[in-house]
Subunit: 248 residues, 2 copies
Amino acid sequence: MKNGIIGVVAGVGPWAGLDLTRKLLQESVAERDQDYPTIVSISEPSAIADRSEFLRGATKINPAVAITDQLLRLEQMGATVAGIPCNTAHAPAIFDVIRAGLESANAQIALLHMLEEVGHYLREVTPSIRRVGLLATVGTYQSGVYEIVLSSAELIVLNPPTDQQTIVHDAIYNPNDGIKATGHGNDRTLNALESVADSLREMGAEAVILGCTELPLAITTPTFAGLPTIDPTLILARALLREIVECE
Amino acid sequence: MKNGIIGVVAGVGPWAGLDLTRKLLQESVAERDQDYPTIVSISEPSAIADRSEFLRGATKINPAVAITDQLLRLEQMGATVAGIPCNTAHAPAIFDVIRAGLESANAQIALLHMLEEVGHYLREVTPSIRRVGLLATVGTYQSGVYEIVLSSAELIVLNPPTDQQTIVHDAIYNPNDGIKATGHGNDRTLNALESVADSLREMGAEAVILGCTELPLAITTPTFAGLPTIDPTLILARALLREIVECE
């Protein structure tokens, strides 16, 4: 018997929510339907303002408000632990507001911090790695959230130059063939991402963090541009499963 | 603005629930996160007895009870329309009980009937096809639900011989490499399924229905054993999206 229910804020973005759920199933040990964990999920992307837009001031609506509301609804549905499959939503200007909102609502749901889980993973599973390159949205880069969280793990985060940051952002956000619009990469977006990862490797990166949850939908190989990939969605999936302990 | 919220009973089985959600996103027209529909989902497979086991009398617990409960919870979460991505759950001994349960609870949620949608599709999109082969679980075969539903569309359903029906069932249910345990097919299960589809073609089938929602996870090609594939999960996804009409 599993002792807990996993809640997923699945609309940030919808393809990333799907990818987290897929990884929850993939990482579960199951022989039949009934062995899989209970997962409740709300994908309501229209209610959640774009995280990067908010961080760069293009909208005043903090996506934290809608995300908190959805977390409270997941708790009503029985969720005991939850994850938000969006790196940018972990910037303090958003995540701290979510945490405060849950606290003031006396929520009991345990909200995991995906980036802190990445820090644990890097420290425990790949302790020899010191310098990690970051592929992310402009919002995540500008917030410095990875530097903040990983510095406590004594890791150095390498960001690409600003012009290359916008290349990564476009591969995710392009309305025609970006990953948010299609759910996957294509030759153009993958080549663009690889050129940035090449730069990160040349800067001394020993691994590359796929620091936007749309990126693992396009980059599905264990290495990219010669660097081992770190997939925060997969790390979050394993952390969520860890929290619903088996008991007899 | 979309006028409705889609509910998914995602635990029958969990990989099929994921596949339905994937197809809901894939069939949505979207340039950015906020364009995607709202989807609420409950995957609680441990609560739902196996549908085939119930139909063949191996358990007395009708999975209809848990499925109805989950549909009512999806309605509480705001769902206006819902689908059940399990062909076997559409056997009258289960589906009629679900419908009656919703009615007696005065539920307002519109529950689509996946197999009736397959009938509409075959009549409207492929009107020249008269004889369709069926790959399905033993429960679905024994219930005769496809014959019942498709006879009103003047279609003839071809079932493989009984010994071949168990081959299909095993490809889905085998605890080691069946699709329910792994989320995908392998050489062994695909060869087994192809041998049955070969028989269906030799019996005169003009198309093959992937009549268990695990099958489209293994058979992802537009034709199989030389027959066009009919994917009920994809048809259900499109029907659910049709129900949440765009309005200004």
